[in-house]
């Protein structure tokens, strides 16, 4: 419809069209209110403020469309081309000591910070870290290997239920279940991935979605084992080398943390302990993924995302490579799930719906597919922001959805696009970096 603006510069027809469409869309949905009164369906006009919103929305759209050409000219004149700021971390690849110093400071800061703030803040940070872990794990599958996995939450559920069930029936503790949960999720990823990974991208997405839903429905209906919709409660918290963070030891012969160190009991210790545990898990995840990126397998993932035909022509087995990405991604979800179950103390299938998968995907998309710093930033934004603005809570998912659409249109590479690792052809430098400390935060 761009040909309407050729002469006047004002786009009257598109403007009326757009405003009309908006009114049509809004009037019967936002403008009315359906309620059930005494088994009778009643429809009423919505509150007047909503009508005010509809009208102002229509006027806004009308004006934007009408003056689109001058506005675009103005916009590009003022801001250059890209509206969303590109966040980038200065590359410190050349200055290894400084980089290590900064990373050490950052980790130290992360570990000391919780002792000076409220319990609620620490708890929220722990939640954000769970999402960081999930985001990083899904990033392996979606961002690096280019496989759109919409059932990621299924593996998260496998991890959580592994711990809950193994603890309930066999009394296994958190630490052994952390490994088992990760392994179980990886095994699920492997078994499910094996048949489906031959499928083309968008089919794969839907099939994984189906799998995620199947896992949830099974958990919901297999009441005898999983407790069905009621879930499983009283999942014990992790212990520190056998020290419990409860007021009194639950198990015979155990000593609670505070008694062991001879300090007063405070539930704050438990919260901080969980937080520190989450930080450590995230650091391990970051380290592993960073290593993977610089290993043959990680490079193969990206190569596969770029061009699977070229991969095959070079002797790479696409199915095996996809499977490894799928399995490793699932393992991270399993770890996160185990930790989630331990933190919450209660799990039910409700925590593992498709929406959860979509949130994790939104984190990866917002941060920038493939970019680890981006994913961390996005996970923090997505979990912390809604807490700060309570009224925002209601609109959280609406915003997530809108953001996914807008990001795909304007900035599919995300807030913080992935940076390529620069390798040196010169052997001396290669030796230097290889002999040094593992660079956990080099993203």
């Amino acid at each position: 419809m761009n040909n309407y603006n050729a002469t006047s510069g004002l786009r009257w027809f598109p403007a009326f069209m757009a405003a009309g469409v908006l009114l049509l869309l809004a009037v019967l949905m936002l403008g009315v209110q359906l309620t059930t009164e005494n088994t009778q369906l009643v429809v009423d006009f919505a509150a007047s403020e909503r009508w005010a919103w509809i009208v102002s929305g229509a006027v806004f759209v009308f004006l934007v469309q009408l003056f689109r050409d001058p506005l675009t000219a103005l916009w590009s004149g003022v801001k250059g081309h890209n509206a969303i700021p590109k966040i980038s971390v200065p590359s410190l690849d050349d200055n290894k000591p400084l980089k290590r110093l900064l990373i050490s400071f950052a980790i130290a800061g992360l570990l000391i910070w919780p002792f000076f703030v409220s319990r609620g803040a620490v708890d929220l940070a722990t939640l954000a870290l769970i999402y960081v872990m999930l985001g990083l794990g899904l990033n392996v599958v979606v961002g690096l290997a280019g496989l759109l996995d919409l059932g990621y939450v299924g593996f998260y559920a496998v991890g959580a239920y592994s711990y809950a069930l193994l603890n309930q029936y066999f009394g296994l503790d958190f630490w052994s279940c952390l490994l088992i949960g990760g392994a179980m999720a990886a095994l699920f990823g492997f078994i499910l991935g094996f048949p489906v990974l031959r499928l083309r991208g968008d089919y794969l997405a839907i099939v994984t979605l189906g799998f995620g839903e199947i896992i949830r429905i099974l958990l919901n209906n297999w009441t005898a084992i999983t407790g069905g919709p009621n879930g499983i409660s009283q999942i014990p918290k992790p212990t520190l080398f056998g020290l419990e963070f409860t007021r009194r030891a639950k198990e015979e012969g155990n000593v609670p943390f505070h008694e062991f160190f001879g300090i007063d009991y405070s539930s704050g210790y438990k919260v901080i302990f969980l937080y520190i545990l989450a930080v450590l898990l995230v650091l391990v995840t970051l380290y592993v993924i960073n290593r993977l990126l610089r290993m043959p397998i990680g490079r193969a993932w990206e190569a596969l995302r770029e061009d699977d035909i070229a991969c095959r022509s070079l002797g790479l087995n696409p199915t095996a490579i996809k499977l490894s990405a799928f399995t490793i991604g699932a393992a991270f979800a399993g770890f996160a799930g185990t930790f989630f179950a331990a933190r919450q103390g209660f799990i039910s299938p409700e925590s593992f719906t498709f929406i959860e998968s979509a949130i994790i995907l939104a984190i990866v998309v917002l941060g920038g597919m493939g970019s680890q710093m981006g994913v961390i930033l996005a996970a923090v934004i997505m979990t912390v922001l809604p807490e700060f603005a309570r009224e925002f809570q209601e609109y959280r998912m609406l915003m997530f959805g809108l953001m996914m659409v807008l990001m795909m249109i304007w900035r599919p590479e995300g807030l913080m696009p992935m940076k390529r690792p620069h390798l040196s052809l010169n052997e001396d430098q290669e030796d230097e970096s290889a002999s040094g400390q593992p660079a956990a935060g080099s993203v």
Partner: protein, 308 residues
């Protein structure tokens, strides 16, 4: 015929009823996929919006004291189709057209975002609770022995069959006879080539979304009346089921979508009837997984040749 036979026929009837509405939604998936090769993940939400609009219209008419069922139904269909078509049109313009030339996954993520957005938009506008409506069309026929199991065929089911049939016939006529329909088929064959021939492909794509949305609205009105209860979340599951149906029949093929919808509906009804209602969704998803694994082109689909 024994009791078991009656029970079987009852399940079959129930399955065909729901299956024919799946088919209506599935056509929307299959047409869009056939032309631009993307999964319109938000299509299920269109169906949900169709139900809401129909409920609003029916409630409004009832308040005005109109009680002619024919009039109420026609009004519900017409207004619902107009509104959802506009949604279909707007969604394509806003969320998909800018991504026409990007990677399939980028477009799919945008579609998922759109789906989440619409679901929550309706939730915020109308609340997340179920909205129920007394049935508009009651009664039906009953066959069978006095004391044993009776087959019931409700008038509502008959209405569903008839309206689905009429809609499908209209669609078939449109696709095969009209000029725009021919353009649609040409686009499905080769979008780039059709554009070179001077056909406004953007218009055709918009039209595809509008038709798909209109059919989803018909399904929305019918299923809304059949079940009598709606909430903002019904679109997700219905969308997935319809997508399964489209894949089952062979994505891109309209007769395939119809066949797939009917098969899926019947399979679900039998699972619910002979096994357990809880697992009927599992069966639907498993069916999807199995087809994609063993016959990704579906029953009536054409195989795709990989371009090296």
């Amino acid at each position: 015929m024994g009791e078991a036979g009656f029970y079987f026929i009852q399940q079959l009837l129930n399955g065909l009823t729901v299956g024919s509405t799946y088919a209506l939604i599935a056509i929307g998936y299959t047409m869009v996929y056939g032309i631009i090769g993307m999964i319109n993940f938000a299509h299920g939400e269109i169906y949900m919006i169709g139900s809401y609009v129909a409920f609003a219209v029916l409630a409004a008419l009832a308040l005005m004291g109109i009680d002619s069922v024919t009039l109420m139904l026609s009004a519900a269909f017409i207004i619902s189709i107009i509104i959802t078509s506009t949604y279909g049109f707007a969604i394509e313009r806003v969320a998909y057209r800018p991504l026409r030339n990007s990677n399939r996954l980028i477009a799919l993520i945008s579609a998922i975002g759109m789906s989440i957005f619409l679901q929550n938009y309706v939730r915020i506008a109308q609340g997340s609770r179920d909205i129920a409506m007394p049935s508009l069309i009651t009664g039906g026929w009953s066959f069978g022995p006095e004391d044993g199991f009776n087959i019931t065929l409700s008038y509502m089911q008959v209405v569903i069959f008839i309206i689905t049939f009429i809609t499908m016939t209209l669609l078939t006529l449109f696709i095969s006879r009209s000029r725009m329909g021919r353009a649609c088929r040409a686009c499905a064959e080769d979008l780039g080539m059709t554009r070179l021939l001077g056909i406004n492909t953007n218009q055709v794509i918009s039209l595809t979304f509008v038709i798909g949305a209109a059919l989803a609205a018909v399904a929305g009105v019918l299923l809304g009346l059949y079940y009598g209860v709606i909430n903002p979340y019904i679109g997700f599951l219905a969308g997935l089921k319809a997508f399964t149906a489209a894949v089952l029949g062979g994505i891109g093929s309209i007769p395939g979508a119809v066949l797939g919808g009917l098969i899926l509906g019947v399979t679900e009804a039998f699972t619910a009837g002979y096994f357990s209602t809880e697992y009927k969704d599992v069966v639907a998803f498993s069916l999807l997984v199995l087809i994609l694994l063993f016959r990704p082109t579906g029953i009536l689909g054409k195989p795709e040749v990989e371009k090296v």
